[in-house]
Symmetry: C2
Subunit: 131 residues, 2 copies
Amino acid sequence: MKPPNRIHHINFLVRDLDAAIRLYEDSMGLAPFVEIDHAVRGSRIARSKIGETWFVLICPYDDTSVPGRHLKEHGEGFFLLSLGVDDLDEHLRQLEEAERGDIRQGILDWTVADAGMHFGASLQFTDERSD
Amino acid sequence: MKPPNRIHHINFLVRDLDAAIRLYEDSMGLAPFVEIDHAVRGSRIARSKIGETWFVLICPYDDTSVPGRHLKEHGEGFFLLSLGVDDLDEHLRQLEEAERGDIRQGILDWTVADAGMHFGASLQFTDERSD
């Protein structure tokens, strides 16, 4: 099996998106964030690229959404690690034992498949499709 | 300030290193892990590279060490995100408000400086030095 090619994105839940953006830009030196409304997940999102990886802040406004429920139960912090693969269908076909969620549309052109929570970390796979 | 150049490493705490390695190699398709004893942090460590990022599993055997205490208090899962910078001294000089730990030796040739916990995520900066 061809290993994942990069960490595609890493998501953190925050309660105050503006404050988090200020912290990561001003105090950590990250490149300027771009904000996106991701209605299907009931969240405002901001992302900044670090090398080949998107650093993503998720601020749920719908507390019945998946991120909203996670924030309520676990508080702010790490939410999900998504591994980039060349071909999501092919990668999922080759996995034998992992939990495998349906392929679904992520933010913008990201196509994702959830792979369950293992050792305390939610994992996911992502590819980017132009179609 | 020049933004961090990559996510240098991301660390997860686990209780059973062998089981975690098997999961991530066999079910997630990560490249083979290399195991390291990191006595100064009281932990066995295994790392596998995903693109430009080290995916690091930390399994503490000393429960008074920093990772050991974190595992006892918070359980398995996300522990730390370390951002790669070209020059750690220069990057720290330019940060104005972040908490700034002392520069210390990480695993092998990694030189690190802890930058505190913000919005639920422990952050750190890393560079790699040959001297």
